[in-house]
Symmetry: C3
Subunit: 177 residues, 3 copies
C-alpha cells in the first residue's frame, strides 16, 4: 500500500513540468537558495534619510541596491572591470535584494512575481554589453523564483554611481499574502 502511494506521488510529480524541473523547492525560494549553495548576506543600512523598501498595496518598491557587506566591486565596465566580474557583482547585488525581501516579508514565498528590474551599470561611454552584466541578477531571480522570477527589465549605462560601485539595481515586486 505504501509502495503504491509512493509510485502515485512520483507520477504526479513528473506530470507537473514545474515540479519535475525543480522538485519540491519550486514554490520555496529559500529552499532553492540552499539547494544552490547560496546564503543571504546581512542587508546594509541605507546610507541616508531613506528606507530599503516601501510597500504600496500589493507592490513592494525596493530602493536602489548595491552590493552589501564589507566590500563591493567598483569601477567602470569597459574601462578596467571585466564583464564576468560585473556579472558576478550583479549577482551579489541580487542576493542583497533578496536579503531585503526576506527582511521585509519574513518569507520569500510571499513573492508573487518579480515585476520590474532596473539594472544600472557604471560604464565607459562606448560600452554596449549591458544585458550580459545585468543577466547576473536576472539569472539569479529565475533560478530562485522560477517563472515567478521572470521580470520586465531595463539594463542601462550610467555615467557614475555612489561610491564608484559598478552595479546598482532597483526592483519592484508583487506580494501575495
Amino acid at each position: 500500500m505504501l509502495r503504491c502511494c509512493r509510485v502515485t506521488a512520483l507520477v504526479i510529480l513528473l506530470a507537473h513540468p514545474a515540479v519535475a524541473a525543480h522538485g519540491q523547492t519550486v514554490n520555496d525560494p529559500e529552499a532553492r537558495l540552499a539547494q544552490l549553495g547560496l546564503s543571504l548576506p546581512q542587508p546594509n543600512a541605507p546610507v541616508a534619510n531613506y528606507v530599503r523598501a516601501v510597500r504600496a498595496g500589493n507592490l513592494l518598491f525596493l530602493a536602489g541596491h548595491g552590493e552589501c557587506g564589507n566590500s563591493r566591486l567598483t569601477g567602470k565596465v569597459g574601462g578596467g572591470v571585466p564583464l564576468d566580474s560585473a556579472y558576478a557583482s550583479a549577482r551579489r547585488v541580487g542576493l542583497c535584494l533578496l536579503s531585503t525581501l526576506k527582511a521585509e516579508l519574513g518569507d520569500l514565498r510571499k513573492v508573487k512575481r518579480v515585476v520590474r528590474v532596473l539594472g544600472m551599470v557604471n560604464t565607459t561611454p562606448d560600452f554596449t554589453d549591458h544585458p550580459r552584466v545585468i543577466n547576473g541578477v536576472s539569472d539569479l531571480l529565475v533560478a530562485v523564483f522560477g517563472e515567478r522570477g521572470r521580470h520586465a527589465r531595463a539594463a542601462v549605462g550610467m555615467n557614475s554611481l555612489p561610491f564608484g560601485m559598478t552595479v546598482e539595481i532597483e526592483m519592484v515586486v508583487e506580494i501575495d499574502d
Copy 2:
C-alpha cells in the same frame, strides 16, 4: 426618418469635442494607427533572461525597449546623431512598445491610461535637448490614444545603452479589462 436620424447623429458627433477631433477612432487606438498610416512591427524577443512586460494588478510594466526589427539607430545625440533622427528613432521605439502592448493585451482599447514613460537618450555629456528627442514617443502616444495617452515623463541622458542604440524607453500602462 432615416435622414432625420443621421442628422441627429451628426449633431451629437460635433457636440463632443473628442469625437469631433478624431471621429470614431478616438476610442480605438488600432483604427487610429491605421488612419495615421502606421502598422505595428514584430516585437523583438528579449535578449536575455527576462520578459517584455509583467502585469501586477491593473498596472502593466514594460521592459526597456529599443527599436525592434532588423535595424536600429545607434550612436550619441550631440555627437553625430542629428536631433530629428533621434526623434524618429524614439517614435519607432514607441511603435515597438505598442506592439508589445498589442501582444500582451490582444486589443489596444484595453489601455486605460499611459501612466509613466522613462525616455533614455544616449548622449554626449553636454547635450541638453532630451525633451525634443523623447517627444518622438510622446507625440505618437497622444496621437494614438488621445488624452489617455498623456503620461508622466522623464527624458534623461545616458552614458551608454545596449548595442549602442540611441534611444531606450521604459513604460508603465494602466489596464482596464
Copy 3:
C-alpha cells in the same frame, strides 16, 4: 474640570512621540511647511507633450521634475558645481514636487506615503557622492511628511540632463482619499 482636561490632553500629547516632536503639524504637511518657513513655488508647465503627474489606482506617478520658476542650477557636480549647491538644488526640486502634489491632490494630507524617489544627478564620470546630493530632497520629504515621507530611493549619476540642469527627480506617491 476644564483645567483637568487640558492636563490630560497634554499628557496624551507628550506620550505620543510623533506628536511630541512636531506638535499638531505632524499630520498636516502644509502647516509643517509654514513652520519651516517654506512656501510652494508655482509649478512649471511641462515642456512637451506630457503631464506633470498621472494617477493609477492609489499610486500617483510624478514626471521627472527639475527646479521650477525662472532660474535653476545647471552644470555637473564634480565639475564646477559644489556639493552644497547641488544639495540646495535637490531641495528646491523637492519643493516643486510638493507643488505638483498640491495641484493634483488639493491637500498634502492626502499623501499616505512617499513610495519611491529616483534622484538623477548630472555628474562628471568620477563623481561618487550622489547620496549627499539627493539628501536635499529626502531630508525635505521627511521634514514635511514625517515617517510617511520615508521612501525607497536610488541616487545615480547621469551623463546629461535637459537644459543642463544639475538635478532631476522622479517620484511615486501613495494616495489616501
